[in-house]
Every structure is written in structure tokens, then in C-alpha cells.
Symmetry: C2
Subunit: 169 residues, 2 copies
């Protein structure tokens, strides 16, 4: 490690946090089993009626990570059609996302600070340079959805803590 | 902007997100006033009985940002004793944190990738290099607490959305 790079600030961060999310979901399955909670209750849980449920939080975190890797590297991201409705399906979504991220190497991502990035949103186009896309859009969104997934499960009684969120060292 | 730097990945991110948090708290005050909600109800609200309330989420986000700036720059952070109990006091905490961050310049932060960082935690010492401290500890924690503050207010009926969280561009 020498100076901070676009790769270091993105791909390993995504892989680590998605791994932590996966471990939290494993605990959620054990909790649901122990408490005889129907898993779909947790998967469809929301913090507010107009917030997205757990499944969507995970899907969007996955989208942020694979979309960022693909756009910064100038390659296509694998399509994942957001059909996951069970914990095993959500775990597979995370595993496929991590597997894709692991195929992207530093040489593909580094130097992407000035790359033009265009996002097509419902509200129109968002234009970024690579560095601003990573720092001002992807990372806040990625952490937002991982944290919200964690918060939904905590709110619904899962006994996890900050160490689960941050992961081991 | 040329290549990604420790400064770019930290100080402007903190300043922007704390500004967004401040704007969300302004909306929370207007909401409490309109709905005749005692402000302390929101300030003491939690997503789970063993999660921290809104005030602590803001204090810890502040601590993460000013502690990171100080440790990477090798200077002292201003002490803030976590006594805020009202929205104006929380806004002042955020403003003082932003004011401190604005005194820290790129030359003080850049090149801190390999700086030895030691955190004294209740559970013992945590040792990092500067880059890992920023990417693996500060940013996940900072976003965790900003997102949780947002989620507490959303869960309590505040009408804000992702645009408030991400801020204008």
C-alpha cells in the first residue's frame, strides 16, 4: 500500500462490507428459526411505510457496488433482476456480487478519477467524474443501504452490534 | 483534482454529509413544531431499546469526523463533551465540527496513508495505518451514524428522502 487509490477506496470496501452483511443475514436466519419468525416477515420489514424493505436494501447495496466497479472499469456489470425473496436467494445475490467484484483488479479501476460517468435516473441524467461518483454518490448510497438493512434487523430484534457491521480485523 | 487523496476521501466528505445532516435536523424542527411534538421526543428516539438515540448518533458522527481529521493531520481535535440535549445545541455541535474541519487543509492530511493510528477503546487498543483507519473504521462508522440519525427521524414520521441524505450537487 502506498498512496490511496480509486481501487482501494472502492472494491475491497464493497467486498468487506458485503461480507459483513452476509454474516448479519446468517444471524437473522438463525434468529428467525429460533423465534419461529416467518423469514419473509424480516425480508419485508421496513423502518417506515414509505421506506424500502430489507430485500431492496440488499439489492440496492449490491447494485451500487457492482455498478461502481463496472462503470469505473468501463466494463459491463452482471445483470441481477432483483427477484430475491428468501434469505438463501439474498445470500446468493451477495455472493454473486462479491464474485464479480473479485474479478475486477486494481489496474482496471485505478486512474478512473476523471472518467465521465453518466447515470440514467428516473429524474433524468446524473453526470459525474469518476472520483465524485465514488465519493459523493456510490459510497454514501452503499453505506446508506447496508446500514438501513442492519437497522431494519436491529429494530426487529436481531441481536447484532457494531462489530458485526464493521467486521473483524 | 488529479488522483484520489486522503484529504479528498475524508474532509470534504465529512463537511458535505454533516451539512446534509444539519439540513435534515432543520426539517425535523419544523416537523416537530407543525405536529406539536416535544423536540426531546425526537432527540431521544431510538430504533431499538439497546441502540443509541438521535443525539448520540449525531455526537458520534461528529467525533468520527473531527477525530479522523485530527489523527490524520497529527493535531488535536477540539473537545466536545457530548452535552447537547436540544436541536439548537446539536446544530451548534455540527457547526463547530464543520468549522474545525474547514481549518484542516489538504497538505496536513495528504500522505497520511501509512501514519500509525492508535485508538483507545473500552475493549482495548485498536491499531491502524492511516489508510485503513479512514477506509475500514472512520467512513463505515461515520456513515453508520449519519444513516441511523436519518432512519430514526424517518421512522418517527419525518418526510425526508434520499436527496436530503445525499445533498444537492
Amino acid at each position: 500500500m502506498s498512496s490511496l487509490s480509486m481501487y482501494q477506496a472502492s472494491i475491497p470496501v464493497f467486498i468487506r462490507m458485503l461480507g459483513n452483511l452476509s454474516a448479519i443475514l446468517e444471524k437473522a436466519v438463525a434468529y428467525a428459526t429460533a423465534k419461529k419468525i416467518e423469514p419473509s416477515v424480516l425480508i419485508n420489514a421496513r423502518l417506515a411505510p414509505d421506506m424500502l424493505p430489507l430485500s431492496f436494501q440488499i439489492q440496492i447495496a449490491s447494485d451500487m457496488a457492482k455498478g461502481c466497479a463496472a462503470r469505473l472499469a468501463g466494463i459491463d456489470a452482471p445483470s441481477m433482476p432483483d427477484t430475491e425473496k428468501t434469505f438463501p436467494e439474498l445470500q446468493e445475490r451477495i455472493a454473486k456480487t462479491i464474485a464479480f467484484l473479485q474479478t475486477v483488479n486494481a489496474a482496471q479501476i485505478d486512474g478512473s478519477e476523471e472518467r465521465d460517468i453518466v447515470l440514467k435516473m428516473r429524474s433524468g441524467e446524473l453526470q459525474f467524474k469518476g472520483q465524485s461518483y465514488l465519493l459523493d454518490f456510490v459510497l454514501p448510497n452503499f453505506y446508506f443501504h447496508i446500514t438501513t438493512a442492519y437497522a431494519i434487523l436491529r429494530h426487529n430484534g436481531l441481536d447484532v452490534g457494531k462489530t458485526d457491521f464493521l467486521g473483524g480485523r
